[in-house]
Amino acid sequence: MATFFGEVLSVYSRAVDEDDEDLDENEEDEQIRRELDEKRTVQLQWSTDVTESLRSGNKLLCSDFVLAVGHNAASFLSAYVLASAKWDAVGRALVWNERSRAATGQTSEESACVFYRHKDTPAVLICHVTCYVAEDQQFQWTEKVFDCLQPRELTVTVLSDGSVADYKTADYLCSSSAPFLRALHTSAFSDQPVCQPLEQPNIVTGLPAAVLNHCQVHRIAAVVYQCYSDVIGPDSVTMETYKPTLTKLGKSIQVNSSPQTDALRKFVRATEIQSNLYI
């Protein structure tokens, strides 16, 4: 549907139609469909040494895996954690779908999913995801990534951006309480989350949900910290909300308590211009 300003919003209906899958497709349609499916396949590209290691049957030993989904979560990790320069970029995931912007020279979408490994404790991995991972790619992404990991008392922490508009509560939430965190963890996660649990009837969807599903089913300790914010783009207040989430991860993930203001500004400015509807 189109809004008053002409933006097109995708509106979901619960009404379900039968798939017309049994209609005969001609060969050309089938080929186009096959090529599109191939293009949508999630591909992981690792650094040379990791590729060699995987090829010889040795997966990436991992005791802590931190995944940031969304711009604020990713910017938080960049400014407060990765800035310590003790991290190596060891791989990336290529995810193409209908929301990927057309490549113009530097493909910003392609580097929107990067894996980092700590130099001193290589069993600690961080991953940024700032691109959109479509519904049919979320399961695939999760399976492929976890397939490369050799869990060693693995704990997975997911930081996920969300909008307070999606948060359902009986008492109306005035905007001054946003941004805030809510936690959702698997049965195998025995530690205490740093914030309140996510109350019914709220749910988590997207890549964080896919990771939680995988971890629940495979009995891996995992926790998702969903940050509900009233600001759409990167925002330093929202980023700061994530600070308590990494306190449990010990020395390997040191949170820089006061990153330089310039570093924060760099992340915030990136989307400011694009969000102005009237330019």
Partner: protein, 262 residues
Amino acid sequence: MFISSQNSPVAFKGFTLVMPAVAVGNVGQLAVDLIISTLNLSRVGYLHTDCLIPMAGNNPYSTCKEDAEGLHCPAEVFTAAERKLAVLQIRVPIIQKKSKKFRQMLVSWIKSSGFSRTVVLSSSHAYQRDDQQLHGTPLRYLATPSLLKVSVDTLKELGWREMERVPAFPGVKDADAEPRLCIPGGGITKGLYSDSCLAEDLPLAVLLLFCSEGDNIPDAFALVNHLNDWLHLLDTLGCECKWKIPTSWSLLFGSGIPPALF
């Protein structure tokens, strides 16, 4: 596809499986929620598949603060072993273009688990009923030949109405066009029924309700009471027992209203 959450293997042989189809108004899923919540079923495993949209949430059947936490996944299996009842709940839509694969996986799981019968709770668009379907009860049933062999008398006694076959091209007087089964808005219902009839000859029944999108809670109650007439799920709980609404049904139409609005 089925992954157990228990430490010992789960046995389904001889059980009745009740499952929803993701269909208009989510009536089947709401009805299944009522069954799980009222009978206090325990989860025994997950259907872990790439055919479903991922989601996660805390315990939708929590009754107090102590059991409020507990991760739940898109498709889970619950049982009551003493009743020989298994219930599958599906909380998410099936990914487009994967419904055939999902149906095949379901049929294969049903077969390998040895369920004695499967009941699919579903719904269909009320606005697409033809003239004859507009009259009388909005509830319909379908049963595969192998289920009919066992249950034909029970179904006759219940006086249920079978889902009608409709002409392929309504209004066009074409003597050659055979009336066919049509379940608009029913998701995988028709496909699942056809697969069960033809390929596998599974004992499967479909219970569906004509409805429209909106507040579908009354529809869910209608469907689950209809099922109860056959399976007598509430009987062992005492005659005055009513269906228990789960906590996940709160705020179905959004958050509380800001007082500043007035």
